[in-house]
Subunit: 504 residues, 2 copies
Amino acid sequence: MASLLRTASLARPSISRSIARPAPRIFTSTILQRNYASAERSFFPDEPEAPVVKTPIPGPKSTKVIERLSKVFDTRSLNMVAEYPKSIGNYIADPDGNVLLDVYAQIASIPVGYNNPSLLLAAQSPEMTSAIINRPALGNFPQHDWADILETGILKVAPKGLNQVFTGQSGSDANELAYKAAFMWKRQQERGGAGVDFSEQEISSAMNNNSPGAPGLSILSFRKAFHGRLFGSLSTTRSKPIHKLDIPAFDWPQAPFPACKYPLDQYAEENQAEEQRCLAETERLIKEWHNPPAAIIVEPIQSEGGDNHASPNFFRGLREITRKHNVLFIVDEVQTGVGATGKFWAHEHWGLQDPPDMVTFSKKAQTAGYYFGNNELKPNKPYRQFNTWMGDPARALLFRAIIEEIERHDLVRNTAVTGQYLYEGLENLAERYPKEIANLRGKGQGTFIAWDSPRRDEVLKLAKGHGINIGGSGEMAVRLRPMLIFQKHHADLLLEKLEKIFKS
Amino acid sequence: MASLLRTASLARPSISRSIARPAPRIFTSTILQRNYASAERSFFPDEPEAPVVKTPIPGPKSTKVIERLSKVFDTRSLNMVAEYPKSIGNYIADPDGNVLLDVYAQIASIPVGYNNPSLLLAAQSPEMTSAIINRPALGNFPQHDWADILETGILKVAPKGLNQVFTGQSGSDANELAYKAAFMWKRQQERGGAGVDFSEQEISSAMNNNSPGAPGLSILSFRKAFHGRLFGSLSTTRSKPIHKLDIPAFDWPQAPFPACKYPLDQYAEENQAEEQRCLAETERLIKEWHNPPAAIIVEPIQSEGGDNHASPNFFRGLREITRKHNVLFIVDEVQTGVGATGKFWAHEHWGLQDPPDMVTFSKKAQTAGYYFGNNELKPNKPYRQFNTWMGDPARALLFRAIIEEIERHDLVRNTAVTGQYLYEGLENLAERYPKEIANLRGKGQGTFIAWDSPRRDEVLKLAKGHGINIGGSGEMAVRLRPMLIFQKHHADLLLEKLEKIFKS
């Protein structure tokens, strides 16, 4: 298959156009391959056949939009102005008539395509409009059908072993809520169980932000991790200085994340040694750090930090160590969750016997929170884990519609299959353009693929001119984060455009 | 007016029914007063005439809902199950057919009534459905009309002197984003200006959560303050131990909040002395605290902490002190904002010459964030104040519709007028039931009214049986947080029911 692909990608002249018009029946392997991809049923029949680039980006209309917006909104991180009503499926439109294949998807947060018709139906339903205009304080006044919305939505896709959820509003929020649950669990154990009440000293010291009421406990995270940007989550984020500079932080420990060589299987032995080193250091920090960890948190694939992978063995090792030392194991699936890696949850790749204690989610779920199974993670009193909104039924309804769309089109399987196809295409490109694609990674991880590029920022910029919206991560990684509706014909198009960029 | 009211409230037999049916024209002051209230045009003509209480709450159907929900969701803080599609205006319905006058309004977060028809139109608009299904990463890919949505919505009601906004997702989030802006501003000054780059030492120490990169700075807050429950905001929250216990906190200072006597004007001299004491202690902490404050944050009326008021003089004093010591002044209007106090923003009552540096909002805005005016509060580089969603255009569109509804019906004025009417009715009740209503407060503050009750929790519970949904704050306060569409005839009904409770 790889060799066949290699032939195919050597001559990929106008594949995009062949999607709509039947290709002439010339029986070369190139064309056969092309037909294989183009013959698939598109999830979005009205998608454009190919990107349309009419102007430099930003074009004149976008420039006007940016000028006006700059007066009231920080536009220095602006990538491109979007016109969402004109966007469709995998394609993002701008005010100048440019329509780009979007493999960044709002920083990995659009799951099933722009203007997905099933989501549109859900958004127009009476349930949704009620949820928008009558937003409840869920902890106090939950709506009569909240159990039903949870059971047919968020909880339907709960990771194995975790049958409860606490809902929140963003990835940072989800992680901090999980940290709070971890601290309450740890202190309850230290106190002697759920039945033991707080001491007077705990009560008075908590009000002064002092120990023991505000305990000197910590969350252990990993170097280059990204877990959010609020004060607790930012204390566990170790991705880039720009994320952290000038913000006070907790004195919490960071363990080394394995610096693996890619492809992982080719360097299995070296990587195993590196992972063992990191596991040993993690264990040492759990035992010795002066603010003892109540939990460790890890991403299945470090995303913002540069798309860093480790083997299932490493993560199983973390589960063992945390179990051994009575520390909770939190898996941050904010970016990896909801199908992108070819499993619904990326940690399903690990073959854990014993599930994580908590799994956090956001982004493609379009709602956020943490799953848990152990009843001891429920605080012993009400109002300990609480806030006004405690999530959002409107976004929970949307996630339910997303889940139905994923099931209807078998999109997790699609992502696994398309991801493999894309990965093989990229392997081929990497062989031919070794200076452009280094450390290709994400094999067997759906479309969650990345590589290092010595001219990363230039490549991302050039891609726009070729009609591709693509993102980076870490210092030099190009990261692919297409939607779950990304198909082989989109992969062909992406590979073709990348080759053009590499040639330029 | 107060004496007239006193007469009126002595005999208030079936006012609720008189709203729809014209009252017989008997010319006593009692009836005149009643007619005055009942003759007003209702904002919700289809509202019930009065609460309907068919079963104890929870009734049999709600009990079933709670049993099912308890398996997947923490219901220990549940107050009542709501059926929102059947709720309307000021009335909240439950599955058992009970319909209660709601003066708690989802912890003060419903602005213009359940199932408000104008909001329904906004929720069904193509703009809204697009915003729901195509949620952007606003910092990278803002929609083409984002400036327009901001200018015709959130920014249209920006507090005087603050013409920019950073949007977020909840009150806690809004406050933490403001804290981050404050820390970056302070460190930039210490560093020598926006043009001075980070040092190597700052960069490396930030990645290790250590000073100077993660500086030993603080946010000063006040005793009994509530600013949220994430890690940074919780470090400034000092309301109740249950909010803080077992959660690690920053070593940040708390100043005393004036323990004023009510009514404020009656004890003006004593209160002034108390406020001066608190201002002096605030100034001392700013000068001496080992982690110097970059900002102080204060609520115009401490809400969760028990509805604690202070005079405009106190807040003007805070503005002076912060200006004097080059510390930012953040006003937390999460609960007080958007009309509830009879001004759009509660801090308008203070008559400040010099605006606050930042004003945070959420709840009734149905979206969240902080306003600011000074360009120096914009971090000197992109991606410093950033996250994936950075707010939510769907909720920004809803806030715009809320603002339009407020303007159309002059609801801030309504709240001021109704609030005065309600306050006078409560003054009258307090005279006649001095054991039930102590420390009545909120005069001239719209419907943002509270009092202390020695049997607070019992009163709140009894109120349900009389068809009123009402909340508490602090240890013993009954807090009224009706919506902006709360009118005099609702006030009459509330006063009548309260009297029945006090008699029971």
